[in-house]
């Protein structure tokens, strides 16, 4: 076998084949008409868009299978726009494909690399110019400039400081204190144990001092879920059991993973599920995490009743509620 291996050779650009419209005037005429019809359809689309805007009633809804209840005017304007734009595109491409020259052309690429001389010259020029500034010989300038440039970026950072207040102890606390009444959300009325049947769930918020308006920030850390079980369903240590009242147990509703509302309660299994990332908590075992990415149980709120028979908090939450943060200082619960 010879050592010289012959490889295939590039046969070069294939011979150009004429399209029908290049040789047959009838075909060319046909293509022209197709393009024109498409452009005309676009005009029709625009007229349709404007007509829909003016004459179709804005509040008419139509049930369309699969699509559901559809606002007729919005759909008509949209379909008009679709026709108006799509056909311009199709027309232009048909025009380019059928009637514009389709002979492939060859262009040479230019080499990016400059000549060695130019490259050397540039290096030398840069070297010389840097030399002329004297930065190498004047270390004082070099260092002070470095310092100045290094520091100048600090100002805008510092100026951003007023974007928000310092967190302080905000994340550690809630509005729940000993004796705070549990108020049903959204009715904002106090609740008695007998208002809640076995198996029922209610969202409650702390009663705020009169004249204080409840903000979303309050709700974001105060939301509590009340669940009533049969007392024998609990599997709690004596302390936690004493935090419940007649089978009613209260947990922070804010997920200890990423702060979503833990809203799905499965009555049969006594599981609470967070719809965001599917962390699952066992209500009977003080909201212990039994599945998913959450690392800590939902904080339990100790509850009891006051002299008037309304449910109240026995004490504030013993641990910060919600997702973790660096300053958070507690391991369990």
């Amino acid at each position: 076998m010879s050592t010289q291996i012959e490889r295939f050779e590039d046969p070069g650009l294939p011979e150009h084949l004429h399209r029908k419209a290049d040789t047959d005037p009838k075909a060319a005429k046909r293509a022209e008409q197709q393009v024109a019809i498409l452009f005309l359809l676009s005009a029709v689309g625009t007229v349709g868009t404007i007509a829909s805007y003016i004459w179709v009633h804005p509040q008419v809804y139509l049930y369309i299978p699969i699509l559901g209840s559809t606002n007729v005017q919005q759909a008509c304007i949209g379909l008009g726009l679709t026709l108006a734009t799509l056909t311009i595109g199709l027309g232009a491409i048909q025009w380019a494909k059928k009637l514009m020259p389709d002979v492939e052309q060859v262009q040479e690429r230019h080499e990016f690399r400059s000549s060695d001389k130019d490259r050397d010259d540039l290096t030398k020029t840069v070297e010389n110019r840097v030399e002329e500034t004297g930065i190498a010989r004047r270390p004082l300038i070099k260092r002070t400039l470095g310092l100045a440039l290094g520091l100048v970026g600090l100002s805008p950072l510092v100026l951003l400081r007023d974007l928000g207040p310092m967190p302080g102890k905000y994340l550690d606390t809630t509005d729940w204190t000993a004796g705070t009444r549990l108020m049903l959300d959204p009715a904002n009325t106090p609740i008695r144990p007998e208002d809640l049947e076995v198996g029922a769930v209610a969202q409650v918020l702390p009663e705020l001092p009169a004249g204080t308006e409840r903000t979303l920030e309050n709700i974001g850390k105060d939301a509590v879920l009340l669940i009533r079980l049969r007392p024998e369903d609990f599997n709690l240590d004596p302390e936690r059991l004493s935090w419940t009242y007649n089978g009613i147990i209260a947990f922070s509703k804010i997920c200890t993973h990423m702060g979503c509302a833990v809203a799905l309660y499965e009555q049969q299994t006594h599981h609470l599920l967070c719809p965001c990332h599917q962390s699952t908590f066992d209500v009977t075992r003080a909201a212990k995490v039994i599945f998913g990415p959450a690392a800590r149980p939902l904080p339990q709120l100790a509850i009891t009743v006051d002299a008037n028979g309304y449910l109240v908090a026995k004490q504030p939450f013993t641990v910060p509620i919600g997702p973790s943060f660096w300053e958070r200082n507690s391991k369990n619960g």
Binding site: I77, L79, L81, G164, G259
Partner: protein, 534 residues
């Protein structure tokens, strides 16, 4: 003939000459324009993916501008009184109320909202598919590494921009997304709670976040996009487009159609097609029906909370993270948040950013490349790409585990465990299979060149043996299937001195793996076969 100036005779010619000369008198643009109107663009369907990105970006600018005329980026409390009666009298943020107003009281407002959202989804799909096209064909190689970096930047900003965009309406779903973003900020060690308080102007949700996000969404990031896209396109223009190998196509040339008129008509027409398709989706396909979710409040949530698809893989990673937290000296470190939402995506993006340089380091190939690779001819790279797609698909599937569970009657726990294990086992398997498939395809190319294509015609020989007649393929096809670089022809097999130490050994092993190839058929082999056949 004496007059050197040719004067146009047609009316169009005169108009064109007038405009061109006017510009030339002031800008000296005639030479430049003449050259560039003749610029050649190679034709291939996959080259329009980048165009889809550009056009959907233009659609986003147009539809987004429309939305800003009505949208009120404020979290102040208002009571809704509008055409959507189920929410009449409900207290909500001005942002949510104005989005309802846009959807129900502004003619074409809902359409524009839906066009904007669909265009954003198309933008992100097109970016990702364009990225895969560039990756699998090796278009990122020298001299186009810079454009790869810009592309990664655009992808990153696109994900952020999309997230901020669907956060703006302040409905229950988007508020939940913001809550999760806040938890991620808060989880950053040492500075987390400060970052969260600064971003939100105090405790979550506050009243500052949406106005701030709005400014970033409609000014800061779009300006960045415009700048990056401009540089991206200027580089494509200056460096000229890559082309697929084939007869007459060389490293040193570019074969295709001139900018004017063919490419202008096709590209310009294509913009209208992308617009038309987006308008059609906006007209008939409801997306993000915020009125169904209600206004945001931290105590509520809607089941089946799903981010948009380009965030879905992140959400899937977060969902499958193990419940790990470290409690250390009175501090809490949430690995269950940090690993899936910051560390892992960070590693993926850093790897993606440096891939062109890593591959050049492994292959030792520092030459310019203008001819694209056929993916099968670079099995290692193709396998790596397929493996990444597998990883993303598994993460994305887990991001929709609740939806999958309800639709296919599976348990969420089952899907979660499947994806937890699959995330580590499936990508390597996909790598091995893809590499094998690439090599098999190379072998098939070789057979095709040497033995021709199957015609489907069966012939019975006098001996009774049945054979299928094979027909030689065209010279053009033979060239296309055999033109690629053979390992022995690679210019820079790594010098021995570069291969010492653990780094050198690693490089050598990766180089060998990178160069695995089925030798392309040669003319010599074909001749030899021809001699022995008959």
């Amino acid at each position: 003939m004496a007059d050197k100036k040719t004067s146009p005779t047609t009316r169009t010619g005169k108009l064109a000459a007038g405009a061109a000369n006017y510009a030339d008198d002031r800008l000296g643009s005639a030479g430049y324009l003449k050259k560039n109107l003749n610029k050649i663009f190679p034709d291939h369907w996959s080259f329009m993916l980048g165009e889809v990105c550009l056009y959907s970006f233009v659609i986003l600018l147009l539809s987004g501008t429309f939305l800003t005329f009505w949208f009120d980026p404020s979290q102040r409390d208002v009571v809704y009184q509008g055409a959507y009666t189920p929410l009449s009298g409900v207290s909500m943020s001005a942002a949510y109320a104005s989005t309802l107003h846009l959807s129900f009281d502004v003619r074409g407002g809902l359409l524009m909202r839906q066009i904007h959202h669909w265009a954003a989804l198309i933008f992100m799909v097109a970016i990702v598919v364009h990225l895969f096209r560039v990756f699998f064909t090796g278009a990122f190689r020298k001299p186009r590494e810079t454009n790869w970096l810009i592309g990664i930047g655009l992808l990153t900003f696109g994900i952020i921009e999309g997230f901020l965009g669907y956060s703006l309406p302040d409905d229950l779903l988007s508020g939940t997304g913001i809550r999760i973003a806040e938890a991620i900020l808060q989880a950053i060690p040492v500075v987390g709670s400060y970052l969260a308080f600064f971003a939100f102007g105090g405790p979550f949700p506050g009243t500052s976040f949406i106005p701030r996000v709005y400014m970033v969404h409609i000014l800061l990031l779009p300006a960045l996009f415009l700048a990056l896209i401009t540089v991206h396109l200027m580089m494509v223009w200056y460096q000229k487009h890559t082309q697929f190998p084939g007869p007459g196509r060389k490293e040193s040339n570019v074969v295709g159609y001139p900018l004017m008129p063919v490419y202008m008509a096709k590209a310009g027409g294509f913009f209208f097609i992308v617009f038309g398709v987006t308008a059609f989706l906006g007209a008939v396909a409801s997306i993000n029906p915020i009125w169904l979710y209600g206004p945001y409040t931290p105590g509520q949530i809607s089941a089946g909370s799903q981010p948009d698809w380009y965030m879905g893989w992140l959400d899937g990673l977060v969902r499958m993270a193990p419940p790990l937290e470290t409690h250390w000296l009175g501090h809490t470190i949430s690995w269950n948040i940090l690993l899936p939402s910051l560390v892992l995506p960070g590693l993926i993006f850093v790897g993606m950013t440096f891939y062109p340089f890593i591959e050049a380091w492994i292959s030792g190939d520092h030459r310019e490349h203008h001819l694209l690779d056929r993916p099968r001819n670079v099995p290692n790279r193709t396998a790596l790409g397929a493996m990444s797609i597998a990883f993303m698909v598994i993460a994305l599937a887990n991001g929709g585990n609740d939806i999958i569970a309800t639709h296919f009657h599976l348990t969420i726990n089952g899907i979660m465990w499947f994806t937890r294990i699959g995330l580590f086992t499936v990508p390597p398997i996909v790598f091995i299979i893809t590499k094998r498939v690439c090599l098999s395809l190379q072998r098939a190319d070789r057979d095709l060149v040497l033995h021709g294509r199957e015609t489907g015609r069966l012939v019975m020989l006098p001996s009774g043996e049945m054979i299928e007649v094979h027909e030689p393929i065209s010279d053009a096809r033979k060239w296309t299937l055999t033109q690629h670089q053979q390992p022995e022809a690679l210019p820079a097999p790594l010098p021995e001195e570069a291969l010492v130490g653990w780094k050198g050994k690693l490089r050598k092993r990766m180089n060998e793996a990178h160069n695995v190839q089925v030798p392309a058929a040669t003319l010599s082999e074909l001749k030899e076969l021809g001699d022995s056949h008959h």
